[in-house]
């Protein structure tokens, strides 16, 4: 694909003001789908399934089938709306969005149109460079996901040139909340980073609410980025493009940056921007034109006659509001201050996605430093080697217990790593593994002295050197003692005792 002409980013910012708008789709992890009793593949319990096995007549749009609203999805949507600072509509309605496409079983999507469940919110977003933005939220509405098409026979995997296409309706009807921002002004050169940080914040919110698995690589979280430029000093907004298929945080940042540079080049050259959807290509780092999109797209929306309005009680809304967790940005600020971490230290934890684990470990009694050391060190290493999620490998309570055993001198770091491996292997709690494997540090000086005396006796040359003041020679004896003790000794104590015994005689 021909790469479009790009303008230098800084130059583009001198000439134009970027305005971005973000649409994020969050797949809810409810047990069943939005409008049917079929298991929801966006819930990790049903993530892996053969095509077209998680379906009912409703998902397939069979004649006669009718949708029924999933109450759990409504509650999740209200919680999400509240966490986004939105007002919750006392009554909202579903509408049909009509268009023909084979992944859409009914050839209409049940969505919300003029009456979304949540509207007028604001989300605080903190960039890695410390800047804080208030992102205005226009609305959050409920809808159903479409199925998945697989195009077979073409070289690109896209519909162009394919011989035939297969449809998997497992995803059809997965509950979605679409969050739409208002146009975001003033981000300037931070616009790409803000886009990324915003989506990351939405992810944190969804995870803290427990309403979504929020994994971008699985499509639980999807972002469409609208970008337009306007010449400095001009009030009227420029023509926007909507970039789709942006499947990672890094891509969001790159895609926005790319569109700013591409549009700037066109505009500076006297050209005009076509209002269209664009596809992001991870491999080439570029966007390509999709279908033209005009405001005149006619989806023939009308109120969904098969469903009643959604009318949550004021009590329910207040109950969900009271249960809201702390906002992610505020929570990060609080934890960073409570833990006394430097910016870098905190960023590493935050970027590792193990903030919750750390917090729980500290709550279980570990020092913040110890908790950080274990989670971003040995546990991350084991998780990486096993290609697993660090969070699922070991419980924060066990990590705190392990840290306490090191703190009390029962375990050395090296022993503690062995114990951790046992915990990960499911052998029990750290204390149980210490007991079962007999891994505790030998703190009985008598046993150590006996071993040291044996070692000194078998290495008279070393003994002589120590007595001559060549203290570094003690290393050989220490090594022998540690070996004899099978590592279950505190090396510093052994050293002390070796010097003591060698000079005492």
């Amino acid at each position: 694909m021909a790469r479009a002409a790009l303008m230098d980013f800084d130059r583009a910012l001198e000439l134009f003001e970027p305005v971005i708008g973000l649409e994020v789709h969050v797949e809810l992890n409810t047990t069943t789908k939005m409008f049917s009793s079929a298991p929801n593949p966006a819930n990790s319990a049903f993530h892996i399934a053969e095509p077209n096995t998680l379906v009912t007549p409703v998902c397939l749009g069979l004649p006669g089938s009718l949708p029924v609203v999933n109450g759990e999805a409504v509650r999740s949507s209200i919680s999400l709306g509240l966490a986004l600072g939105c007002s919750i509509a006392p009554s909202s309605r579903f509408a049909r969005k009509n268009y023909f496409y084979p992944d859409l079983a009914k050839n209409y999507q049940i969505s919300q149109y003029d009456e979304p469940i949540a509207f007028d919110g604001e989300v605080e977003v903190e960039l890695e460079n410390g800047r804080v933005f208030q992102v205005p939220i226009e609305r959050a509405h409920m809808e159903e996901d479409a199925g998945k098409l697989t195009h077979v026979g073409g070289s690109t995997g896209r519909i162009q040139g394919a011989e035939y296409s297969l449809v998997d309706y497992n995803r059809a009807g997965v509950p979605l909340v679409e969050i739409v921002t208002r146009p975001i002004f003033g981000a300037e050169a931070d616009a790409p980073a803000l886009a990324r940080a915003y989506v990351s914040t939405i992810r944190d919110i969804a995870l803290s609410l427990g309403i979504s698995e929020a994994r971008m690589e699985r499509g639980n979280l999807r972002c469409d980025a609208n970008v337009s430029l306007r010449p400095r000093g001009q009030e009227k907004l420029g023509t926007r493009t909507e970039t789709k298929n942006v499947n990672s945080f890094r891509s969001i940042e790159r895609a926005v940056r790319y569109e700013i540079q591409r549009q700037a080049a066109i505009l500076a050259d006297g050209g005009t921007i076509t209002q269209e959807t664009r596809h992001w290509h991870e491999d080439t780092g570029a966007t390509s034109a999709g279908r033209p999109k005009s405001d005149a797209d006619d989806y023939r929306y009308f109120p969904e006659p098969d469903l009643l309005p959604v009318v949550p009680s004021a009590e329910l809304i207040e109950e969900l509001r009271a249960a809201l967790p702390e906002a992610p940005a505020a929570r990060r600020r609080r934890l960073k201050s409570e833990w006394g971490f430097s910016d870098d230290e905190f960023q590493i934890v935050a970027n590792s996605g193990m903030l919750n684990e750390l917090a729980e470990t500290v709550a279980a009694g570990a020092t913040p430093a110890a908790a950080r050391k274990w989670w971003t060190g040995e546990i991350a290493r084991l998780a990486n080697a096993a290609d697993r999620d660090a969070a699922g490998m070991v419980s924060p309570a066990h990590v705190a217990e392990l840290a306490a055993l090191v703190e009390s001198g029962t375990l050395t770091d090296r022993l503690a790593r062995q114990v951790l491996e046992g915990v990960v292997a499911g052998e029990g709690s750290p204390q149980q593994i210490v007991d079962a494997r007999g891994l505790a540090v030998v703190s009985d000086d008598g046993a150590l002295i006996a071993a040291i005396d044996d070692a000194l006796a078998s290495q008279p040359d070393v003994l002589a050197k120590i007595r001559d003041g060549k203290v570094q020679a003690a290393g050989a004896v220490i090594g022998a003692v540690m070996k004899a003790m099978q590592g279950k000794a505190d090396a510093a104590r052994v050293r002390e005792l070796v010097l003591e015994r060698a000079t005492a005689e």
């Binding site: 069979l62 009718l66 029924v68 449809v167 023939r300 006659p305």
Partner: protein, 510 residues
């Protein structure tokens, strides 16, 4: 003709319970009748003889083992083809669903099965329930048992004709603008459109979701009540179904008494536009009710005259969306253009070949009515009229307990007579449509034969939403009074179709 098929469903149910007749015998008698006359009537699109006899044998066996059943257990029932049936074709009268066998039962079908009733097969209808004559069926028209040259009404002409021709004691129908009541009117049978939400729509192939309602098609008011008692009730699969429990409709019929009941006559629907004999029978019925203690009041419903116009915007709008799923991707007909084609071309070719002209007309109308820029003028205005019609009902029911109208303006017209004149066809439903727009229940029962043509005439009663029992009360009382005058049910005067048995056999090749 076998005596069994002449029995009402209630009477047959009693004989079955008493062990005087088995369900297999009753089912076989109706299957024999279908074999004898349906070549001429063409009420059925599909007859499941094997399944019906197996279900009947099962009920007989369970009854013999001491299981207790409701009053309609073992009684055969015909099912309008708009309701999906597991293992039986369900075409809604359309070519586009030819060959599709649904993997599930519609809720009303499940409920009649659970009540021990025996589905005989699927009855003919106008394609996707769009029509008033059953002539828009892709599988050929149904003939009125009173005069085989005439229409049986529509869209549920098949269910009404099956019941009128004694091919089934009762049937399930669907009523979006009169599709149960108008066929009842022209075939001398009873048809009830319950309150919107009384019977689940789950598994009813949707025409217009906000108007569709499933209901009973029978020969007596009591049979309709018994069937409504079986199929009504909340269904978690249908959000628009009413959660509250219902009183027994059969009880309302048994206690029927019109003394003190205030009956409103809708001025706008009792006009010169109604055929003389239809109007005469309507007024004779009202006088009979009045003589028996009812109070007759004239009611003004000024917005009813806009009902048809609103209906023919709302219905096509919803239908254009409901029928979008028929695209060849998942079920039914698939037509591939010569040399292959894109998915869009395959969808278009399939819909071109699979839909009949009336369906295409309404899809185009509805698509237009919902289009950006036209929505407010058409769909939006129609919804406002709908609200006004509801207000007319509210005002009327503040004064009276039920409303009465002629069910339809004329008796059965000739097949083909109005086929090329959609507006004339639409006007058949002038009196039935307001109930669908307002969601209120309605019943049509026989009021006699029009003197000028000897064809059946129905009278319609309408009640406030959820007051279906009032219809059964007034309908049950009027039926009793009329039959006392006539000395026998109206259908006893219908032609004996056995003379058509030969013709049916000859037509079998069709």
């Amino acid at each position: 003709m076998s005596e069994i098929i002449r029995l009402t469903a209630a009477a047959l149910g009693e004989k079955l319970a008493a062990g005087e007749v088995s369900s297999v015998e009753a089912t076989r008698a109706h299957l024999d009748r279908i074999a004898a006359v349906d070549g001429a009537v063409h009420a059925f699109l599909h007859v499941d003889a094997e399944g019906a006899l197996a279900a009947a044998a099962d009920v007989d066996r369970r009854r013999a083992a001491g299981e207790s059943f409701g009053p309609l257990a073992g009684v055969p029932v015909a099912v309008k083809d708009v309701l999906v049936t597991e293992g039986m074709p369900s075409t809604a009268g359309s070519r586009i669903l030819e060959g599709w066998i649904p993997p599930y039962d519609a809720t009303p079908v499940r409920l009649v099965r659970e009540a021990g009733m025996i589905p005989l097969g699927k009855t003919n209808m106008d394609e996707f329930a769009m029509g008033s004559s059953t002539e828009h069926s892709a599988y050929g028209p149904t003939h009125n048992p009173w005069d085989l040259e005439r229409i049986p009404g529509g869209s549920g002409g098949g269910s009404a004709a099956a019941v009128a021709a004694f091919e089934a004691p009762l049937a399930l129908g669907s009523d979006t603008g009169g599709s149960i009541r108008q066929p009842a009117h022209v075939t001398g049978t009873v048809g009830v459109k319950p309150t919107y939400g009384a019977v689940s729509r789950y598994g009813s192939i949707a025409l217009a979701s906000s108007l569709d309602q499933i209901g009973p098609v029978t020969r007596t008011v009591l049979d309709a009540a018994l069937l409504q008692d079986v199929i009504a009730g909340h269904d978690p699969h249908d959000s628009t179904s009413i959660p509250e429990a219902w009183p027994s409709m059969a009880e309302a019929v048994r206690r029927a008494d019109v003394s003190g009941v205030r009956i409103g006559v809708v001025k706008q629907l009792d006009s010169d536009g109604v055929q003389a004999g239809v109007r005469a029978k309507f007024h004779e019925s009202l006088e009979l009710l009045q003589r028996n203690g009812a109070e007759i009041v004239e009611i003004d419903a000024p917005n009813f005259e806009y009902a048809i116009a609103a209906y023919y915007l709302i219905l096509p709008a919803e239908a254009s969306s409901n029928l979008a799923k028929f695209d060849s991707v998942r079920f039914g007909l698939r037509v591939t253009p010569e040399g292959g084609g894109t998915v869009e071309q395959v969808m278009a070719a399939t819909r071109e070949a699979g839909f009949g002209p009336e369906v295409k007309r309404r899809i185009i109308l509805g698509t237009y009515a919902l289009s950006a820029g036209y929505y407010d003028a058409y769909y939006g205005s129609a919804q406002k009229v709908r609200t006004l019609v509801q207000r007319d009902f509210d005002a009327a029911f503040a004064k009276v307990d039920v409303l009465a109208t002629p069910t339809a303006p004329t008796t059965a017209f000739k097949l083909g007579e109005k086929l090329d004149d959609p507006l004339a066809m639409y006007l058949n439903d002038v009196a039935t449509i307001p109930a669908n727009l307002a969601g209120v229940p309605g019943i049509s029962l026989p009021a006699g034969l029009a003197p000028e043509d000897g064809l059946p005439v129905g009278i319609q009663f309408l009640a406030p939403a959820r007051q279906d029992a009032r219809l059964y009360n007034v309908g049950g009382a009027l039926e009793r009074l009329l039959e006392a005058e006539w000395g026998a049910p109206l259908l006893s005067r219908a032609p004996d179709l056995s003379s058509h048995e030969m013709a049916a056999a000859e037509e079998g090749a069709l």
